[in-house]
Amino acid sequence: MIVSEVMTTKLITVTPTDTLSHAANLLRQYQFHHLPVVASSDSAAWPGYMDTGRKAMPEFQGLLTSQDIDVAAAMGRWSSSEVLHRPWQERPVIEFMHRASIRVTPSMSVAAAAQLMVERGLNCLPVVEYEQVGQDQEGRMRTVLVGLLTRSDLLLVLARLMGAFEPGMELTIQLPGGDPGSLAETLVLAAQLGIQVRSITAAPQENGVPQVATLRLGTINPSPLLVRLQEANIGYTFAGSPVE
């Protein structure tokens, strides 16, 4: 699974010259915490809204987070005596945004992106592509924003992988010694009974091998499958009660 399959592509953006009050209003209105900052472009039909599915990709400048705005507001309060200072609401985004130098590309694996977010303590990663400007070889690179990968996106992926959006029941299959044979057999039996598989997870627990596999099956009536599992001597758990 790669980043482009899970990232958010319908983005609310600001330009470096927008005011902080505009940015704060957007964050409040849409109830999120990150605004990508892109170079102002004349081509966008609605300024401030971009759908990266359409081919109007503006240059990526940086990120403005709700924290940045908090900092701006706090600083504004302390330095209010300075006559030259404008109130924070009127100051431009460019003064408070940061470059967001950690970025990922759409083809990066989701696992690697997730690890990066956890290690760096990030809530959000800009997804960018690089394109060359002009014909000449030493031409400047342009950084184009194609999406945003947030922790919420990752949580949705997790829920999807676990089959949360489809009706189904959950069954745990024992894999003695990490041998996937019993899982394979279970799947064959399920297929024979016409039972749809919603999701399979078998994450390593000990010695790098999975001890159990968790299946979500699209059936209300698991007994025919359970009978066959028992006949085939496959250990399983259903509804919290182990069956030998």
Binding site: Q196, G218, T219, I220, P222, S223, A239
Partner: protein
């Protein structure tokens, strides 16, 4: 009143049949109708008890289902045009057949008919539309909106209708799921929403989450869906978490109570009683639609809730009561799941009908009915037994019932009952917290019904022999004493009160009455110390906190007294330790209040502050800590003291609410600032 109830059944509905190996068999409805007739609860010839129905129109189905889905169901519902391929066919025809089969398989996969649960069958559109029509007619008739047939006068219009073939709650707008093709409930409710201003309360008692109905009205504040079901952690369809509350303006109108596997009657009834009445009051519906899927029963092969007919009867009674009290009697009951076809379904739904029609339920099943249906059950019994076993359920004595209600000895208590019920209590508390406005939560205190001590008391009674309460002897300088906890009222009646035990009631006789009333209350625990000759010399009482503690859960007041004639012998310390040696101790918040006007300072020759110190030390030995508080009694006198012990398993939310409540100002809470 009985003429106001009708049963809607049409023999065409029996064609809702997925084949001989399918768990859902129309035979269960045949058995039900047979039982109703033979037991005299219902006669097909009595027109006052019947209601005729009609199939739902396509336009009505489209209230909930997408036109594409309905078209697909209609197509899949047609039998293959050509017969079985026995006679030689031209190449052309084979080609057409093959292409048709391809597109049928594709449609089946796309619309949820590809798995074994809900196979596509000839005629399924017609029969499903018929069932939808039944529920729609029933609800319209009760609500008096167009589509419900006409009645001679308003008085003729039925208030209650039971439609046992209805209740197909899993069907989605664009997909068949879990044995359900069209969602009769959602269509009927949508019809009433369109035709009137009514608000509809839907209560789903099926063991599986009522996902289809919830989805259909997830953003609709005029429909409150309440589903009691086995947790979706393992069981189909996997949804139904407490936090599924609705979206948009419909937020707060989807209520889910996921219960633990092996919940059993008591815990089920407790959850239901704690939630349904306040929900009905807060929502103020015009009509109740209830789905009585009886796969909650312990004998059901697909689920684990382990109820008996007692729990199922409680559902029906409560729903009836709420409909009569708050909805002018308007109530439509539906069938639903239930896969123990002969032993459970006919009895469970007879209970629904007898309650609805106000007829007393007979004790025994008619012999002729048993004679007719027992052999059919014997035929499937080995399969049923196997299904129970692979589901991990303990083997339950297999016999065919002879009475409407279950015999409790056929249903041995499940292990881990204590853990299971406290988890369910936690779920219920969360639902209350999320979905009930604070004013209602206070109007419906839960403490008295939901005392964990009551549960513990039951647990002790069930597992022990004749004397479930513990007993221990204590040697003192003045002779031996016996300590007893969970004292039954009969014991207190036989004992007398030592003359020195009078701090609370002033007179030994009144003290005796006080102890008796405490012993009789199911939510209080009484531990005493008495002499072998039967004089009570000390007592420890545990009682739920009074109104000042509002709806705080699991908050108990500990009271202790030792007779003036038996002081200084370590009785108080020993008795307190003995009384608090409870399984549930860590789940409770215990508090004790020392009020100086109760103190026998002369008798001990102590100053008030010395006495205060004495109490603090005594309770400190059991881990109690002193807290400053605005509790009115404690607040009245500076010598008074409040000590509390917060168990380690107490929910953090409850603990912090307790601590903030200690210093709250009750005088102001009544006024909104």
């Amino acid at each position: 009143m009985s003429c106001k109830a009708r049963l809607l059944f049409d023999s065409d509905e029996l064609h809702y049949d997925f084949g001989p190996d399918h768990p859902l068999q129309p035979a269960r409805l045949v058995a039900l109708m047979d039982l109703l007739e033979t037991s005299g609860l219902w006669q097909s010839s009595n027109k006052q008890q019947c209601l005729s129905s009609r199939p739902a129109t396509l336009e009505e189905l489209e209230l909930v289902h997408t036109p594409e889905y309905i078209a697909a169901v209609q197509l899949l519902s047609q039998a293959h045009l050509a017969g079985p391929a026995t006679e030689p066919q031209s190449k052309d025809k084979v080609g057409i057949r093959a292409r048709q089969d391809d597109s049928r398989a594709e449609l089946a996969l796309k619309y949820g008919f590809a798995d074994g649960d809900t196979p596509a069958l000839p005629g399924m559109h017609e029969v499903s539309a018929r069932i939808v029509g039944g529920t729609l007619v029933a609800l319209s008739a009760v609500m008096g909106v167009p589509g419900g047939g006409s009645f001679a006068s308003g008085d003729e219009r039925p208030a209650h209708i039971f439609h046992p073939a209805g209740g197909l709650h899993h069907a989605w707008a664009e997909r068949a799921s879990g044995f359900c093709v069209y969602n009769d409930i959602a269509v009927a409710i949508a019809h009433v929403l369109r035709a009137s201003e009514a608000k509809v309360l839907y209560i789903d008692f099926d063991a599986h989450h009522g996902d289809g109905v919830q989805r259909a009205f997830y953003d609709e504040p005029r429909v409150m869906t309440v589903s009691f079901h086995e947790t979706g952690r393992y069981l189909f369809p996997g949804t139904g978490d407490v936090l599924e509350l609705g979206k948009g303006v419909g937020r707060g109108y989807s209520v889910n109570v996921p219960l633990q596997p092996y919940t059993e009657d008591d815990s089920y009834i407790e959850a239901m009683e704690a939630l349904l009445a306040p929900l009905v009051i807060s929502f103020a519906p015009d009509v109740i639609v209830s789905q009585h899927g009886c796969d909650t029963h312990a004998w059901d092969p697909l689920t684990h809730l382990s109820l008996t007919m007692r729990g199922i009867q409680a559902q029906v009674k409560l729903t009836h009561q709420l409909a009569d009290m708050y909805c002018d009697g308007r109530w439509v009951a539906l069938g639903g799941g239930g896969y123990d076809l002969y032993r459970v379904v006919p009895r469970a739904w007879s209970i629904v009908w007898s309650e609805m029609s106000g007829q007393a339920l007979p004790v025994s099943l008619p012999e002729e009915w048993v004679a007719r249906w027992q052999p059919l059950w014997l035929g499937v019994e080995p399969q049923e037994r196997l299904a129970q076993q692979v589901m991990g359920k303990s083997s339950i004595p297999a016999s065919f019932p002879t009475t409407f209600m279950d015999r409790s000895q056929d249903f041995p208590a499940q292990p881990r009952r204590w853990t299971i019920s406290s988890t369910n209590r936690h779920t219920t508390a969360l639902v209350r917290q999320l979905l009930l406005p604070p004013s209602l939560r206070q109007a419906f205190p839960t403490l008295h019904h939901r005392s964990p001590l009551a549960g513990l008391f039951d647990l002790l009674h069930l597992q022990g022999g004749a004397t479930p309460s513990r007993s221990r002897s204590l040697e003192t300088e003045k002779g031996m004493l016996l300590l007893r906890d969970f004292c039954p009222p009969s014991l207190i009646e036989r004992l007398t009160i030592d003359a020195g035990l009078r701090a609370f009631a002033r007179l030994p006789e009144r003290e005796h009455q006080l102890l008796l009333s405490i012993a009789r209350r199911p939510d209080c625990a009484l531990s005493i110390a008495h002499t072998p000759s039967g004089e009570i010399v000390g007592e420890v009482t545990l009682a739920p906190g009074d109104e000042w503690w509002e709806d705080l859960e699991n908050v108990y007041e500990v009271g202790i007294e030792v007779s003036a004639n038996w002081r200084g012998l370590g009785i108080a310390k020993n008795l307190l330790a003995f009384a608090l040696d409870l399984d549930a101790l860590e789940d409770l918040i215990l508090y004790a209040m020392g009020l100086s006007w109760h103190w026998d300072m002369e008798g001990l020759g102590l100053q008030a502050y010395q006495y205060r110190e004495l109490i603090a030390r005594l309770f400190a030995s059991q881990g109690f800590i002193e807290y400053p508080t605005t509790e009115p009694n404690v607040h009245m006198e500076p010598a008074n003291i409040l000590l509390a012990r917060i168990g380690s398993r107490v929910d953090q939310r409850v603990a912090s609410r307790f601590l903030s409540h200690l210093l709250s100002t009750p005088n102001l809470s009544g006024y909104s600032l």
